[in-house]
Subunit: 419 residues, 2 copies
């Protein structure tokens, strides 16, 4: 290692000098090497054997602060009622690790014995069917990446004043994973659907018996009975041993711990789709069954309630998705929407799946307003706050897909603002 | 639920009757409903509140048998030297959960403090550089799904007699995940590579100081300094706080716990690339630096050392990949290669990434020989055993990408055979 220059320049000098001269956009550090011989001998962890393998791996203990954040957020005495949020500020890529997938439970996580669990398919069918888990695992399956977003995600930003929270607290009811399961159409075809039928009812096996109605066309379309998530059997808080997956629809319609599907000729109007999960409109009426989630994007790096460590290069990145289709474009603004430039998308965006966008930014140290704006292949464009707000009652907290603004202060502080 | 027929027909009768009449290919079960009122009241887990959320989720306790299998397989007194294998028979989809990603360690898993770890880039460069983890996390990144396969994967099938093991034991040194990190080309460009340079040396921060040489062209191509896996920071056994990722190359070249990259004008011929990780040829010579992994596919369902529960529908499925590019076709044979039919691929295959293939099969109860054969976009076709075997010495255990045969017996038993 005698060819390493013992340079004592700090980061800032390097950024202003060599890196820019070389055309590099990167925030490289030419850290001082105080002790070259220590480098040659290697760090302490090279002087002792490492630890043994585990049958099932876990994240590093140095990352133990990366956790879902649980909050009830509801006037309830039931501790199992509430939601946990994905730490979007700490993850990268497009896949959400299963251990950090957001949750929304209406009465906690049931412990379901897969050998005792049954799925009943009945109602307006030629032949009612009852399926064991074991039998379902033999069915034809398909794997697709899909996001799930709670209808109440980003609801905090509909409050009169911008909440001073981080991206996890405001937008963390959103995750994106690979789901594997049986196309629901196969089970419906097996039961034989009455030509007069037009709706389905899904009921969960939790103590809240979460129940939602959805159109038969969705059931015969891209709906899935999901059995695996990110390769392994779906986890308890995601519906073990199985959940319904309705891609692009409000998250709670992807009923977890699914135990019953009933074919009907009208919506069932369950407790979970009358007072709840409807959107309040400006005239006081409620829009029921607003299934499809809007086109949306959120900048996760940098994001609210953090502090940027100084001027220089940053990669602005985040996630974009649409409940109606595939993301075709994400634009980024650093001046509060006065000007926009297109971000780069990682890989090929899939339908009703999140894509990571990336945008290089050299922060000069001046205040900035960071925004992102997504467009999907249906031509839908993510609305501004000004455009979104009048479409709902001021009391509505659902389906907020408006553009998020993060304000960067001269000291590097990043905060949520309304703009 | 009064519209459910209290049918007591068992699975077999159903399969022979209704399902086929309805044109269904599915192995649906019309399980007897012994007690309709119990169904209406719901199972026991609907009568009590569920458990609370956890900050970081885990698989169901009913799936605790789904584990990596550790074995040293080597004459060593070092318990940290060996490999753990992914339970391919128990997972589905294309993504491997991070907790089940295979491992190969040469001296255990080091515990590395990210605040103390440094990556040194030196050798034939204009400006040697030392990077802290904190600085690297600010660099531009990219996310891509890539497989990693150990050069010794499937080596057991090069032994004279077919090992009676399951797919995990034979082929489990293979996993496929989403990696996020910095294109290595950015760091190399920042350091400024000498025009005379042509190779790189990568050294790991484990006590074995795992070291491999690789061509500079790969470093300037799709090589990545990986910092995240499946969304979260890379785990300790996968190289925390960072690993090299050389897509499509022998797994051990994707050096974990990366601490040093040296630019050179020739291979370094380290201990890990002379006696080891070379392929023994029929004439007794060894092929050094056989970097690119072959085109390959493995049927994971059904697979060896399992028993199929009876005749009827099965989805034959597995994974296909190529170290050279993208999978364009997977064919399946149920008669030992006498006839082939094309399988369905999940989604759009990506370069140097695994894709799940699926093929519907109605097992009549007769003995069968299951095979799969992959083709990539370079036109490479997975070789048969007969074609692969003469290309290497009988003592060679590396780079086995020959077609796997699973024999299905009349009693449903599935076993590894050479065919």
């Amino acid at each position: 290692m005698d060819d390493i220059k013992h340079d004592t320049r700090g980061r800032r000098q390097f950024l202003a000098g060599g890196a820019k001269a070389a055309g590099a956009i990167a925030a490289g550090s030419m850290a001082a090497m105080q002790n070259a011989s220590a480098q040659v001998n290697g760090p302490e962890w090279m002087h002792q054997p490492g630890s043994l393998s585990k049958g099932y791996g876990q994240p590093s203990e140095f990352e133990e602060k990366v956790q879902r954040a649980w909050g009830t957020g509801y006037p309830t005495v039931s501790p199992g009622t509430g939601a946990s949020r994905t730490p979007l500020q700490s993850i990268n890529g497009s896949i959400t690790p299963s251990g950090l997938h957001f949750e929304r439970h209406h009465n906690g996580v049931p412990k379901i014995d897969p050998d005792k669990h049954e799925l009943t398919l009945h109602g307006m069918v030629n032949q009612p069917l009852v399926f064991s888990v074991k039998d379902l695992l033999r069915y034809p399956m398909v794997s697709r990446v899909h996001f799930i977003e709670c209808a109440g995600n980003s609801g905090a930003n509909t409050l009169p004043a911008a909440p001073q929270q981080n991206v996890q607290a405001i937008h963390g009811l959103f995750s994106n994973t690979e789901w594997t399961g049986i196309p629901l159409s196969i089970l419906l075809e097996e039961a034989g659907v009455d030509p007069q039928a037009s709706w389905l009812l899904a009921e969960g096996g939790d103590a809240a018996a979460m129940s939602r109605s959805f159109p038969l066309a969705k059931g015969l379309g891209d709906a899935m009975l999901a059995l695996y998530q990110n390769g392994e059997r779906i986890r308890p808080e995601q519906g073990y041993p199985m959940r319904l997956l309705l891609p692009g629809y409000q998250g709670n319609m992807s009923v977890k711990w699914l135990r019953r599907l009933k074919v009907t000729n009208e919506p069932t109007h369950t407790k979970d789709e009358t007072s709840k999960y409807t959107n309040l409109l400006p005239d006081g009426k409620a829009h029921q069954f607003p299934f499809v989630l809007g086109v949306k994007s959120i900048i996760t790096h940098p994001s609210g309630a953090t502090k940027m460590p100084g001027r220089g290069f940053y990669e602005i990145s985040g996630l974009a998705w649409s409940g109606a289709g595939r993301i075709v474009k994400v634009e980024v603004s650093t001046d509060g929407g006065a000007s926009w430039r297109e971000a780069k998308l990682d890989g090929q965006p899939q339908s009703k799946a999140a894509v990571r966008f990336r945008f290089p930014w050299d922060w000069t140290g001046s205040p900035a307003l960071l925004q992102s704006r997504a467009t999907d292949d249906e031509g839908r464009v993510q609305p501004s706050r000004a455009a979104w707000t009048p479409t709902y009652s001021a009391a509505n907290r659902f389906h907020n897909n408006m553009i998020q603004t993060w304000a960067v202060a001269a000291d590097g502080g990043v905060n949520n603002v309304y703009a």
